[in-house]
Amino acid sequence: MNNSPYKKNIIIIAILFCAVILLGRLFYIQVIDTSYKITANNNVLRYEVQYPARGLVFDRNGELMVGNKTTYDIMVIPREMKAIDTLDLCNLFDISYTQCKSILENVDRKKKRQGYQAVVFLKQVPAEIYALFQEKSFKYPGFYAQVRTLRSYPRNVAGNLLGYVTEVDTAAIRRNPYYKMGDYIGKSGIEGSYEEALRGRKGVSIYERDVHNQIKKSYDDGKYDTTAIAGKDLICTIDIKLQEYGELLMQNKIGSIVAIDPGSGEILALISAPGIDPSLLVGINRNFQQLQMNPLRPLFTRAVMSSYPPGSVFKVANALIGQQEGILTPETRYGCAMGYKVGRGVDCHAHPSPLDLRQSIQMSCNAYYCYVFRNLIDNPKYDNISDAFNQWRKYVQSFGFGSKLDTDIPQELGGTLPTTDIYDRIHGKNKWKSLSIISLAIGQGEIGTTPLHLANFAALIANKGYYYTPHVVRNVVDEPENPKYKEKRYCMIDPVYFEPVIDGMYLAVNGGQGATASWVKIPGIDMCGKTGTVQNTHGENHSVFMSFAPRENPKIAIAVYMENAGWGSTWAAPVASLLTEYYLTGEVKRKDMEDRIVAGNFMSKESRAKKRK
């Protein structure tokens, strides 16, 4: 008998060794390596996503501003794709053969990894082509169409305000796991700020399928399925007709118009010129780069972003602060002989002298406000110039200047309002006096305000001391209005001090001799306004106008800013006047004024100015 325990043991060890090898490998692929679980899900789970229609946007009168149109994404399941007539496919979708080939090669590469998960063959195919595809689809196994909605714009206005919808980028996907590759997302404007309401919620049905892509049953009894929820509609505060008219007036000009309903803070029109034609950004953004390259920067929403010195319209602010601080009464008179002659001096234009407060606004006297501003800053009430300046700054801030107004326009910027630190840096600590910063008296120098700031300021004056936070969306349908927009925001000026200022603004438009904007008065409507001409070292001055109307129970407050257009009274004022007339009466009677504005072109001046620079 050949008894050999040695060999028996070797054999048993070999058996156990084999078992350990198998178990080691199994432990690795089952417990340590998780990639197999993902691949298994890719294999067996079929996700059917329902994209809800995006919410519509209506204007304040219920007119459609943003609608939806249906397009189709042509999808293909790599494993099901067979040899097909590529040329016919090219003709069908009107694409070049090389393009088609590269897409199909890409699909072919995904065959192994994606398997039965569909990939996009062609995006955003219009309905007409989709109908043709439907007829021929039997020739293309593995191809099918998925409904997607794109935006449509019946009046094609307010591009900057509305923003646009585009495919999500990888950064957005990382930030928010809701988004998956190929989803659409609202960018900038109200498409951006109201994205969550507008988009609704995608629905997904998860199925288990077999190797032939036949659906077997709902995954886990539909536990993870969700139904699509349609996006919610928005009611805008914009008056689309006013917006359209404003865009017409601003054609071939650079600048902005902001119109606000003072009684509610609702923005009636928000125009940035040159602006975006919203239809250009629908779908695959072929035009986006072109817009980005444009030297006039149409993507830059001037109305809420660009920070200009406000110019003479700011005199109104100083007039209010002066009264509140007690250094100015309506009867205070200062003389002016073509300017303020202290220090480097500030020039002024020809007008009667001396003027009282009302007249100083009516005729926009520079010297008057130099006196007022110096009295403010050198007020003995304050220990030092910094305290006085900071007090002044607080007043200005209470008008909404120097920071964002917290509107629902995502692009909004805050402008600039200088601090004592800035002057310390410019002039040296304690080395600056009221005279050093005298430009602020007439709204020049280190201050920067957006057109929105000015319109809001006009609304504040119209309301005699308070404003509502401006906003462009009244409410999401079926949701209450944001209480934030119902709150009155008071400035630090008592209502009584507004009367003389409003008088002055009324006279500026409706007054007689010396009134800066008397030619734009509207028959039958009491419009109050203030012109501004902002000095521009790079070219022609900027034309500014701020107004509200009617004087009693005001309905519309407007700020117009037109770059390189010269005097405030010649360009900005008539624009505000025409818009006010249009909004309050529904028509424009002064056709010659309208024709002159529409024909105006300052684009060429801008380009000349650029060359000079």
Partner: protein
């Protein structure tokens, strides 16, 4: 009467219990692998699980029959059984039906029989009968030739049926020969050469080289008294290689052929070791050097023969046989799907009947050759641990039963059983997890199929019968 009672009293119930557990697991796994709600009844004989139940019941009758037959019947009739099976194997080449490209089935109505399965039992019996002769000596050339004939004859016939997997099973009988006196070296060298040939086709050259290097080091370790130093040498050479490719090359931005780099390191190590060997007169070193040089030469010649001397259709055949090309949907589709199914099971599995990869046909042959996927997917690592443990226990039991036989016939036969079942289990599972090429052989007791279940049942219970009567 008394004798029958004796048999059932002496039966090794542990082994029989493991056997019963395995066929039950098999039945449930087949049910799960092809389960669908329309045919939910596990006894539905229009489905595979219903059929498997019939095979199981008939197998249990077979066990009783085998246990009741006089054990001398198997040893006396061993050659006759072997001869008849050889005849059947020849007959199937002429009268058999072709399934999946193999002509290895007899069709009797709906039922199909595969004589190759029974050939394993027959060959084991014939080998045991031949080798249990009183004056048998494995060193005699005549005996070696005879053993070769007994093993190679059915192997060749099965190869002719294009059932490569079943043919390869007979190679496993080397293990039995090892136990019966064949030098461990012969077994090792044979196994090593086969492995080297297969590896040099399916692996990158550098991996094969690494394999040879480790094998040589292991051998040197075995011979050399200074084991510590050899171990150090191995770690140093492989460590420096991985350091160079992982850290040095990327930093230097060099692209060196990894094969030559590793070969270079091996040669340097061997030269250093050679100088030491000359000084200290270590003879075993020269043997190792010889083995290293010859295996490297063999491997590179395999590549050369394979790439230049063989025709394309030869290559296709070999690659198909090794499972490199045998997949219509891209390289390694089957194995890939099988790994996905098992890998997705995780630690505890998806639960009985909740597997998706096998049920929805992502895994091919999910109730036969790839049945292990269902276990892996639905029961996870816990399940495969139990199944592999059961198999290991069964194999160890078989080895122990064989060792305790007084009769050489029974012992030799027992080792044949252990070799064959072990080979089946290891290669089948290794194949489903990508450790071995796909050679279609079933998982004993678990895979669907009557012939295979019957054959393994008969094979195991003949041994148990011998065991039960060993004290007679």
């Amino acid at each position: 009467m008394r004798r029958q009672v004796n048999i059932f009293r002496q039966l090794d119930y542990t082994t029989a219990g493991i056997y019963l557990l395995l066929i039950l697991i098999g039945w449930l796994s087949i049910y799960a692998s092809v389960y669908n709600e329309e045919h939910g009844n596990i006894f539905d004989i229009s489905q595979r699980y219903g059929m498997q139940l019939i095979w199981i019941i008939s197998s249990i009758f077979l066990t009783i029959t085998v246990l009741l037959i006089n054990h001398k019947f198997f040893s006396v009739l061993a050659y006759i059984i072997y001869g008849s099976i050889i005849l059947l194997l020849m007959l199937v080449l002429v009268a058999g039906v072709e399934v999946n490209g193999s002509r290895s089935w007899f069709a009797i109505g709906q039922v199909r029989l595969q004589p190759a399965e029974l050939a394993k039992v027959a060959a084991s019996l014939a080998l045991a009968r031949f080798m249990c002769q009183y004056n048998f000596n494995l060193k005699k050339l005549q005996n070696i030739l005879m053993i070769g004939v007994i093993i190679l004859l059915p192997m060749a016939l099965i190869l002719l049926q294009s059932d490569t997997g079943s043919a390869l099973v007979f190679v496993s009988l080397l293990l039995m020969l090892y136990r019966e006196g064949l030098s461990g070296w012969v077994v090792s060298i044979a196994a090593f050469c086969i492995m080297l040939f297969i590896l040099s086709i399916i692996w990158e050259p550098v991996s094969v080289l690494l394999f040879i290097w480790i094998a040589c080091l292991a051998l040197y370790l075995f011979f050399n008294k200074n084991k510590y130093k050899v171990l150090l040498m191995g770690i140093a050479s492989i460590g420096s290689y991985s350091l160079i490719i992982n850290y040095l090359l990327p930093v230097l931005k060099l692209s060196i052929d990894y094969d030559y780099l590793f070969l270079g390191i091996c040669v340097i190590t061997l030269i250093v070791e050679g100088i030491i060997a000359v000084r200290k007169k270590i003879k075993s070193f020269w043997l190792i050097l010889l083995i290293f040089v010859s295996t490297v030469a063999i491997t590179s010649s395999v590549d050369y023969v394979y790439d230049h001397l063989l025709q394309q259709h030869h290559r296709n055949r070999i690659e198909e046989m090794l499972g490199i090309r045998d997949d219509p949907q891209g390289t390694g589709y089957n194995v890939n799907q099988s790994k996905i199914a098992i890998g997705s099971g995780g630690l505890t599995g998806k639960g009985f009947l909740h597997g998706t990869q096998t049920k929805y046909n992502f895994v091919p042959e999910q109730s036969t050759d790839f049945i292990f996927c269902t276990i892996g997917e639905e029961w996870g690592f816990a399940g495969v641990l139990i199944v592999i443990a059961l198999f290991a226990w069964l194999l160890v039991k078989i080895v122990e039963i064989s060792e305790r036989q007084r009769d050489a016939f029974a012992r030799i036969y027992g080792y044949c059983v252990a070799s064959i079942i072990g080979f089946h289990v290891f290669l089948n599972i290794a194949m489903t997890i990508g450790l071995a090429p796909v050679i279609g052989i079933p998982l004993p007791f678990i895979s669907y199929g009557g012939s295979s279940l019957w054959a393994f049942t008969i094979m195991l219970f003949i041994l148990l019968k011998f065991d039960a009567v060993k004290w007679e």
